[in-house]
């Protein structure tokens, strides 16, 4: 390891330093405000440090980590997302737990896990990153120890996620047994040499895919999603739904690309099949859901279904670049949007007493009571629904373009069908938000913290900016992927 290697790993180092710093600070003086601020600062620093790391990219640091601009892009994203989550959680956890400081420590660790996944090009780093992320999340989910729902959610997540990790690992073990390699690229070469003659190979790949698909809550591995989203504290749900999924998706995509699993048509067709299932089932499940968190959980199933389309597109090597570009843009847009949506839920549940269970009527008339928050939610929902002027639209446009370039009509029609169903439940939230004062009864006080307003403004601006002027990000994506 030399200085350049360290520069390439700067984001991870900053995060690790941040974790240590937070531990020291907590041990020295308990102060939630300070801890949250420190965590946010370190996360932002980590995000910014990617710029420096990018100067030496791409660089293979040990066989485990590859610091390319793709990884750094997502590190930036995760860093900012983590920082926003930290700021959002500041008031939320203070209401929910009596010792909120460690929450931020866990958040930093989880973000670090996500970043490791972005770097990962090896089974070991995948394992470490995924588990760092997951284990921190178990604790984060169960953090509000006064209430019962987070506990249930955490237990479910722990058991199932552990099983999924085990499944993926078992699959890797079988692949390892067949090829003798653990690095993604070497694995792919090994597979090429071995050929698919060995009947264990493709089932092993399926095990790996299934284990990761669980983390992405792809149908049929999706049943945990609403329960965990619902039970977890709102900011954690936002983090779980955006960063955790994006990180796993990135590593899955990298695995498929590096090991060139797209050669195995049947494997990719399974992803296509699951994409269709997810798009339809996710949207159908969300359809009449009146609990907003559960609704968003189901909608995230659908969105991951949309994302899986890129796997099918990648079958044709000529379209891979476009597919990855589309996936990257979609992940960025989806992360921003999801953070915004759950940020709103965080902000409106901060004021009230303990409320994990946010129903539609809780946002009744939000437009008239808290216009800024309502605008945040409106923008987020429109983005999720893929309406123009928002990031979600460009993202969907990207996906459609990619799918059209590969002529995947069935997937496209599923996407249209799913999106059409989706409009209903997104609009339903908007409808509740625009209900007139005489049509609802809810007591809520407007948010007073500048933090909430500031974040709302930032998120609205980010989503709209990505929707109206995405060209620079497009260029950037193109430049790092070509």
């Amino acid at each position: 390891m030399n200085a350049v290697d360290f520069q390439a790993l700067l984001p991870l180092l900053v995060l690790a330093a941040g974790a240590i710093l937070l531990m020291v600070q907590i041990a020295w003086h308990r102060n939630p405000g300070l801890t949250a601020a420190l965590a946010a600062i370190m996360l932002v620093l980590a995000a910014l440090s990617c710029r420096f790391a990018a100067e030496v990219a791409p660089l293979q640091v040990t066989p485990l980590l590859l610091a390319d601009r793709f990884a750094l892009l997502f590190c930036t994203l995760f860093g900012f997302a983590g920082a926003i989550t930290a700021v959002l959680s500041r008031d939320y956890v203070s209401h929910h737990g009596d010792e909120p400081e460690e929450f931020f420590l866990l958040l930093v660790l989880a973000t670090m896990g996500a970043c490791v996944l972005a770097y990962a090009v090896h089974v070991a780093s995948l394992l470490l990153g995924m588990e760092l992320l997951s284990i921190s999340l178990y604790a984060l989910i169960a953090y509000p120890n006064k209430s019962i729902l987070p506990l249930e959610a955490a237990a479910k997540y722990l058991v199932l996620s552990g099983a999924a990790s085990a499944t993926a690992l078992f699959g890797f073990a079988l692949l390892y047994a067949a090829t003798g390699s653990l690095g993604f690229t070497a694995l792919g070469q090994g597979l090429a040499v071995t050929g698919t003659g060995q009947s264990v190979l493709l089932p092993a790949a399926v095990l790996v895919f299934a284990g990761l698909a669980f983390k992405l809550s792809i149908v049929p591995f999706h049943l945990w999603t609403p329960d965990v989203y619902d039970g977890a504290p709102a900011p954690v749900t936002g983090f779980l739904a955006s960063v955790a999924k994006a990180a796993v998706f990135v590593v899955l995509l990298r695995l498929f690309l590096d090991a060139d699993l797209f050669r195995y048509r049947i494997l990719v067709e399974i992803t296509g099949l699951l994409a269709i299932f997810s798009m339809l089932a996710g949207n159908l499940l969300a359809l009449l859901q009146s609990n907003i968190k559960r609704m968003l959980a189901y909608s995230s199933i659908a969105h991951l279904g949309y994302l899986l389309i890129v796997f099918m597109v990648c079958i044709n090597a000529a379209n891979q670049a476009l597919a990855v570009e589309a996936a990257s843009f979609y992940l960025i847009a989806y992360t921003a949007t999801t953070i915004a949506a759950f940020g709103l839920l965080t902000l409106i549940s901060t004021e009230a007493t303990v409320r994990e269970n946010i129903q539609l009527q809780h946002v009744s008339g939000l437009f008239w009571r808290q216009p800024l928050l309502a605008c945040l939610m409106l923008v987020a929902l429109l983005s999720l629904a893929g309406i123009p002027l928002t990031a979600g639209f460009i993202a969907k446009f990207y996906l459609v373009t990619a799918a059209v370039s590969g002529h995947h009509w069935v997937l496209l029609f599923s996407l249209v069908a799913g999106s059409s169903i989706g409009i209903y439940y997104y609009l339903r939230v908007i409808y509740y938000m625009t209900r007139r004062p005489e049509e609802y009864r809810v007591e809520q006080h407007p948010i007073r913290h500048w933090r909430g307003r500031f974040l709302s403004g930032v998120l609205i601006a980010a989503i709209l900016l990505l929707g109206v002027a995405p060209q620079s990000l497009m260029y950037y994506l193109r430049s790092i992927l070509l």
């Binding site: 373009t401 996407l415 059409s420 609009l427 409808y431 995405p470």
Partner: protein, 514 residues
Amino acid sequence: MSMAGLILLLLLGGLLAWQAERIHPNLPRWTALVTVTAALLYLLAAAPTEPGATMAGPHYSGSWLLHLKLAWMPRFGIAFELAMDGLSLLLLVLTLLLGLIAIAASWSEIDFKPGLFQANVVWTLAGVCGVFLAVDLFLFFLFWEVMLIPMYLLIAIWGHENKTYAAMKFFIFTQASGLLMLLAIVVLAWQGLALTGQLSFSYFDLLGLSFDPRLGWWTMLGFFLAFTVKLPAFPFHTWLPDAHTQAPTAGSVLLAGILLKTGAYGLLRLCIPLFPDASQQFAPVAMGLGVAGIIYGAILAFAQSDFKRLVAYSSVSHMGFVLLGLYAWNALALQGAVMQMVAHGVSTAALFMLAGALQHRLHTRDMGRMGGLWHQAPRMGACAMFFALASLGLPGLGNFVAEFLVLLGLFSVQPWLAAAASLGLVTAAVYSLWMMQQAFQGAPDTRRNMADFDGREMLAMAAMMFALLWLGLHPQPVLDLAQPVLDSLRAAAPFDNPVAALDTAAAAVPGRGL
């Protein structure tokens, strides 16, 4: 003249109207009025009438007046590209005029959040203007979708008793079909890439692409569905009666007056010229849907007891003529279709304004509870009579010119369909007069105390009456504005009609066509 400036003016005006509410609750409507008036004056004063500087592109014909192209997303060959020709100009004028009418119609109707209301009205106008101006297909789709949001809010917030259902239905129908159009647009652009080696969403680059018949057919269908849902054509019309009925008056006026026209515009500008072969094959089906819509809409209009619902179904019926005219695709029928877009916009807007005024005064739209209103409100009665007659296609008013031209043009292509469609003339008389009978004639309820139209409302009505008379008696300016556009569209996408004599004669006029 700056086309982007026009859209920007409306967007900013809407924002201003929204915020004006903080100062005084009556200020937003004035702001909106001033904004739209300013936009209209700007358009009328600054719009060129002569073709502008030449423009690159194989499918540019002399009919374009203005063109603007700013780089936007070069990654996909997407540009912020606007262009205006006579057709767009005509529809823009209609849009802004009806915008004024809509604002006038809701002048004193809105108590709840008037600022946001007016803002949504003005933003809808901005979106529609964008649709009429955009020549980049991506941009077109963007405006197409974006204009729905303020409209959705208008219905969902200020609508009547069943507003949620109506707003949702409206949005889902148009969105779902819009997504299909997005698919089609992307397929089209990809086809362009395959054929020319250059990815572009510009209309000018995409005109005249050749397609594998099956691909062309499906892609055309994507456009067709989106536009016929908006038009609306049978059997995709069912969102319309609900949306129109539940929308506040301004919403109904905008919906019927201009939003429906975007569907027709899309068919005329995009669907047929981009896919001439598929469209020509498809024309019998489309025309069949048109006839079905005419008859079906008329029958259902007659069945309604809700004033607004009746007018809404009459729109379904009238827009069937547009569909017929477009797919007949000859000079006469196209002119008729354009004329119908304008005339129907005006006449239906007026009827919705009337319906709104009635509901405001009587708190009901049920015609069973009206009757004899002529006695209490003779001015309303006279206006209603005028527009009912316009709606049934009385010669001398714009709608007649439109329907006559459509049928005349259609007759040379599909005489039997023309005969079937002309049944619509009879049924239109049935429901229009039935509406008059139920609402305005009969014995008046003497307990009812109802104010007649006031000066503001009469002014709006008079303007629309004048417009219809003008369109009916001297439609030539409108026809002249649209003629070069229609000629070049037909030249770009020729249908080989069985009876081509009329067309060749019209296209042979020097200076028109390609």
